[in-house]
């Protein structure tokens, strides 16, 4: 216990020195980066050990330090993220936050986390605003302002994600989750109206993330949107598990922990890989990382995203028993909303993966930089996400202090149920490894069959390469044009336009983009500054919604019919 505590502290000190002292950096740039990654690796390992062996109170002999179980699991996530960070400022923010996790006093945590939050944007008025997110840690729970400040925390930490690039996005996520899980435990139970208000804040964050994932033009911006959407979804689970009296509160806790596991590690891989430009031998590695990250965030069965949907549905299904029909209907809508968010995350990831693939086709020489030192964090994330997907009980065991609930199986007792996710009070279970093996085997078998019977004799004929539209034309060899696709994802998978089409044009197509969503929070500022614009927009929204209602005649009839039947069914019982 002492070893873990002391080791963690000394590694932190090392990281701090490596980040701050410029003397070390100038002559030995590479070695310094390697040193920093290595130190983060040690921190990750120690926090993993700390979480596994429950080293609670290991640092209490130092007056201001107090580490409990929650600290270790959050440190583990932070350390994995810290390995992929480039700039000193971001690394310093990570170190501050890590120290904040180890503090026993909420005030000290608030101070350090607030400093980290203001360090992230670096300058500007955002750096001034963001530290207000940690205010709930500094006021008593029974204060009148506390609920309002909790809403502010959720929105501001979500907002802070958008400014970050790469793995730094994890810092606001960690602050938000740590803070909320500590404070909400103190509340115990909150009235329904407050629960709904907090859930709406989470919903705003998730919807903002989805829009960002659809509208953003840059790969890293899209990824930030995806992380923001994920954060909104996960925090809503945390809320429901801690402050609600629903039957499925325990399962919400498991859903939260599963969301923090394989899915998040997969996203972390993508965040790190998106910053890394490479060519040559490392492209294969990169494709492997990207494909696995994409899989973990998608809705395909047995992936991290699927685990989130599944556990959410089970939790809400369990909560629906013994509640009033109206509340059951609200829960149904909540489940649908969460599923929409995760599906939109998948589309955001699709945009990212396609943009990354096109990026590789560029023939400009790319500097082979910083591959070796970041490999530790890449492999850490990949290994972690695969391990925790196939042995989910280990992850549930590590993160058990976050939410008190049913005791997971200890990984030291080698039990067959380590592979199985079981839920309290439910008959259902899931074994991700079985399905992955089944599909893997199926894929191998199909490819083998096809190559045996169909491909082998066609290999030579397929060498004649030509674009599809020239298939019937006489064969003329033309020098292949260079791909002129730029680094951003603007031309890839126009989901924003698709969303506009599907919603019947109510978003206003390109105008929506030009107005400022793609340029961050400028939209908000502009609207606040010019009230005339607000009036004009309101009017246009009214006209547009009127037009839309006019055009959606059939859909409205169907909807009204459904509503009528629905109300009838309610009133009849």
């Amino acid at each position: 216990m002492v070893f873990v505590g002391l080791g963690g502290l000394s590694a932190f000190t090392g990281v701090n020195i490596a980040c701050v002292l410029p003397i070390l950096r100038k002559p030995f740039n590479i070695q310094c980066d390697l040193l920093r990654s290595g130190l983060w690796g040690i921190v990750a390992l120690l926090s993993f050990l700390g979480a596994l062996f429950q080293c609670q109170g290991g640092l209490t002999w130092l007056p201001i330090f107090g580490a409990d179980g929650l600290t270790w699991s959050m440190l583990l996530v932070l350390a994995i993220a810290g390995g992929g960070i480039c700039s000193h400022r971001e690394a310093l923010a990570c170190v501050f936050l890590g120290l904040g996790f180890l503090m026993s006093s909420p005030l000290l945590f608030g101070l350090l986390a607030g400093t980290a939050l203001s360090l992230l944007p670096g300058k500007g008025w955002k750096a001034l605003c963001l530290p207000f997110a940690v205010l709930p840690a500094c006021i008593p729970v029974d204060s009148l302002l506390s609920v309002f400040l909790l809403c502010l925390t959720i929105v501001q930490t979500g907002w802070a994600i958008l400014d970050q690039r790469g793995t730094t996005s994890v810092v606001p996520v960690c602050i938000g989750i740590f803070l909320l899980s500590r404070i909400l435990v103190e509340y115990g139970y909150l009235p329904l109206t407050i629960q709904i208000t907090l859930l709406m804040c989470c919903g705003c964050v998730a919807v903002g993330g989805c829009f960002w994932a659809f509208y953003a033009q840059d790969i890293e911006e899209i990824l930030c949107g995806v992380v923001m959407a994920w954060y909104g979804c996960v925090v809503s689970d945390l809320l429901l598990s801690l402050v609600s009296t629903l039957e499925g509160a325990d399962i919400f806790g498991i859903a939260f922990r599963l969301g923090l596991g394989p899915c998040f590690l997969g996203l972390l891989v993508l965040l790190a890989v998106a910053q890394w430009q490479s060519s040559g031998a490392y492209i294969l590695f990169k494709r492997f990382f990207v494909a696995l990250g994409m899989f973990q965030g998608s809705v395909l069965p047995s992936s991290g995203g699927f685990l989130m949907i599944w556990s959410n549905l089970e939790a809400i299904g369990a909560s629906m028993t013994k509640v009033k029909p109206a509340l059951a209907f609200i829960l149904l809508l909540l489940a649908t909303f969460q599923c929409i968010v995760i599906t939109c995350m998948t589309f955001g990831l699709l945009r990212v993966i396609l943009a990354l693939l096109y990026q590789n086709k560029q023939e400009t020489p790319v500097k082979e930089e910083r591959f070796y030192d970041r490999q530790i964090s890449f492999w850490g994330c990949i290994g972690g996400s695969i391990l925790f997907l196939f042995l989910p009980q280990i992850w549930l065991f590590i993160t058990r202090p976050i939410i008190a609930g049913s005791m997971p199986i200890s990984p030291f007792s080698w039990d067959k149920n380590l592979f199985v996710i079981t839920l309290p009070y439910r008959e259902t279970y899931l074994i991700p490894i079985v399905f992955c093996l089944l599909v893997g085997g199926g894929f191998w078998g199909v490819m083998r069959l096809v190559s045996l019977f169909l491909w082998d004799n066609r290999q030579e004929e397929s060498l004649r390469i030509m674009p599809l539209w020239k298939q019937a034309a006489p064969f003329v060899e033309i020098r292949e044009k260079k791909h002129d696709i730029c680094l951003d994802a603007s031309g890839v998978l126009p989901m924003s336009v698709a969303l506009d089409f599907l919603l019947g044009g109510c978003l206003g197509g390109r105008r929506f983009i030009i107005l400022g969503l793609s340029h961050g929070d400028r939209l908000f500022i502009r609207y606040c500054r010019y009230s005339l614009v607000i009036l004009r927009t309101m009017r246009s929204i009214i006209f547009r919604s009127g037009l839309w209602c006019d055009r959606q005649g059939v859909a409205w009839i169907l909807l009204l019919l459904g509503v009528g039947l629905f109300i009838g069914l309610f009133s009849s019982t």
Partner: protein
Amino acid sequence: MDPAVIGGRSVYRAFFEYMSQEFVPTTMPLWVWFVGCTFALIMQCGWIILTAPLWTGLTNCLSASLKGEPSFPITSRWRDIWHQCYKPSLHDKSQDLNRLLIFCAFVLVLPAAIFIPVCTLTVNGFPVPNLLFICSLLVGATLMLILPLATQGYFSAVKASVRLLGEGLLLPALIPIFFLSGGRNLRSFFTQIYTLSPLTDGAAYVLAGGAICVVGVLNYDEGSDESDYDSTCLPLTGIDKGVWLLTSDCIKVCWLTLAVDIMWPTSLAMPMVVPGAALMSQWFGQCVESVGLWICKMGIAALLLAGVRLVVVSSTRMMQIKIGTVFLLGVLAWQMAYTYTP
């Protein structure tokens, strides 16, 4: 009995009980049971793969005769797929991703074709997924089929993105039906609704089946103008296109089979708990009967689909109607079931 056999039995039994977390009730040697059941599941998968293009051919025929156009024979779709598979492939290196996607889609459809009951409920001891699992598989496979269209760029990308988004949002639209099934696996779900009357307490499930039927039927597929556009713009040739056509047929048949199973579960054979010789033959008889019924049901579905093709609606509008109708029907079904089992 010699110890090796006993050892073998215990290993098999442990394996199945572990896989399915339930007791395997059988009196016959377990390896016979294992081989027989696996063979039956593979047969079912093969049956769906073989009949799916025939079903599309039948739909094309019916649609053509309803429109008053000359039609191709029912086997035309199979011939097309076969022809594509043996056509020289004009494969571009940049299309490796497309090939990977198409084959992944095909592989994802296989488990769905194995686990959706065609003639009988899966026998005890085999792991059976739940409705969410099957629907995610089918939605995932559909998305993979559309992706090659969406990566082409320009106008095709916009159209394909609309389809991609619409098909993806089907998963949230199906949420009320997942709640209706209560998260149980398909076997226990069908066992639960097996004896319900479709007019009274089972009406909700008929509605839910209708919602899933809408997913399979409200589609622009081969034969209509929209999808001619799709298949001509598809950047695939040779075997890739053959597999694309086959997979899209299989997905439709899987959706419709699932829908008719939920609507009318009594048409499926129920495997007995302890098989004996007399019961076994009875079960086989029921299976044969169910296959006949399945053919009839799919014939009706083909007629329905041919009728839908007469309606002229743009693909975007079709997608909107599809998502809205599925969600609405699902909510109604859930509500009806909620009144019965609060």
